[in-house]
Subunit: 301 residues, 2 copies
């Protein structure tokens, strides 16, 4: 099994209540790939500028992530400058520069076309659609999106959602997309749009999975010392979809474990700035925390 | 086993984003008792004014709650007027009138003195201490408090905490009391004050239990349609302590199940205004939702 992911590979300037970091490696595809490569082969599709550092490219390559689809063009990488406020939940975007992403047209290498799993990271839905169109009947498609696309490009998003199996969003995005206040009702409405499975990412409050009448709810890993929340949602998606791809199943019990692997990946990501922690993660670290997660959530029924 | 609880029995005027209710039966001891009586005998200690309705007194009596400690004096019941804002998390207190509670001196009936479990509801710590002083070596003492008492009556609270086994508070209260930002560190600091077990009530986000190196985290029941959040924390305490008293054990596996019963009680409470839902609850409703909770949280490790 292999996962094709499309999204951003970026540089971020990050300000937190306690520290700051400039030119931190970031982007949805970066975080996703660094989480998901623990489980299966990753085919990455993104665009970078000529300011992308050799060291960062080597970091990805060294993990075995396939970079044939990482297009390098003249100009600068996608750039975001963000600040997290004292409660960690609110963040201010001080600057967003699309740069090389502005005219990005994803081109899927031939060797990627038969990827079984697709992760369409949080980018314009027409770019997500373009990737879908170039792939031969993927077995499972997961999509992330945000309030901007739900509001500004709704019809394109609805078109893309028709081919999607699982939608990964936060609760306010699910409410905005569905027009439903209750997440159970939201899942029913979204299922009619395409995605039969809704995965609500709640950050420090865990995750909720709904497919038809099946529901699973999980808390977050509780011991995190948060340094930088950037990328936690994309790493969650990487753990989630990575585990699914490795398990070669989409029964609900498998989906539940996928949520836990997603939460574990998110919990590592926030422990350091940028990709520092997740890039240093071993399979042993991953299994150890998964088992801790089991201990801290299981109870005798 | 029996539980002695002291707290308020009150009338609330409640405003929510969708509706309002005047003179709703409320108070921490009311919600606690209506949740906990499903598990064990409840000895209630509180004060009411002569405006307390016969119907409300009968409601409590009809549940088998012992009302020998419910003192009736001339004047009006404790009164609170509160409004919940659109996100349900923020609430405004428009009015608080202590009324008969202002000069309340808890008097414990002789038949209550050997209660095995104590729940000291969210009232002035010197009143909590007064109850403690009148009871013969209880097996387990649980205490709820709030930012007001932590800030304004810290030394009295610290004195009372010395005799407490489990502290039930929300995360910001735990941080304020301990001076620690991380809840794991907060639990260590609070353990030195007395309570070896810390139970963090997170409302719609579940609950966290810490005792020494043992940790349990649980999401909330996810399907709630919130009508009125008032009393959910007290009902949580009622389910939590009620189950503990009935299980006659405080090993960590028992505490975990107690958290789930607490969450289940909280989830029922918010479904209707005031005590409407929790007062109508059957043992069958309780077990059904407990089992649903198991289904929605368990995963194969």
């Amino acid at each position: 099994m292999s996962i094709l992911t499309v999204g951003s590979v970026a540089y971020d300037d990050i300000i937190t209540p306690f520290a700051k970091r400039d030119r931190a490696l970031g982007g949805s595809a970066t975080y996703f790939a660094l989480a998901a490569h623990h489980f299966t082969k990753i085919n990455l599709v993104a665009v970078i500028g000529d300011d992308f550092s050799y060291a960062d490219e080597e970091l990805l390559r060294h993990k075995g992530i396939d970079l044939q689809g990482l297009e390098k063009v003249s100009g600068k990488c996608f750039y975001w400058k963000g600040e997290y406020l004292a409660n960690w939940n609110d963040r201010i975007s001080h600057d967003t520069q699309l740069n090389v992403f502005e005219h990005f047209e994803p081109k899927i290498p031939d060797s990627y076309r038969e990827s079984n799993f697709l992760f369409l990271g949080n980018i314009h839905p027409s770019l997500q659609q373009s990737v879908l169109n170039q792939v031969t009947q993927p077995r499972w498609v997961a999509l992330d999106t945000m309030n901007l696309w739900i509001k500004e490009t709704r019809s394109a998003l609805l078109q893309t959602l028709k081919s999607v199996d699982v939608l990964l969003v936060n609760d306010s995005e699910a409410m905005m997309l569905s027009g439903e206040y209750n997440l159970y009702d939201a899942a029913k409405t979204i299922a009619k749009m395409g995605p039969k499975t809704l995965c609500i990412k709640k950050g420090e409050h865990g995750a909720l999975l709904i497919r038809g009448n099946e529901i699973f709810t999980a808390p977050a890993y509780p011991l995190c010392r948060v340094v930088d929340p950037t990328g936690a949602g994309d790493a969650f998606a990487g753990g989630f979809l990575g585990y699914l791809a490795s398990a070669e199943s989409d029964n609900f019990d498998t989906l539940k474990k996928a949520v836990i692997y997603g939460s574990v990946m998110g919990s590592f990501t926030v422990e350091s700035f940028s990709v520092d922690r997740i890039a240093a993660l071993t399979d042993g670290d991953l299994e150890k925390r998964y088992n801790e997660f089991v201990d801290m959530t299981h109870f005798d029924s």
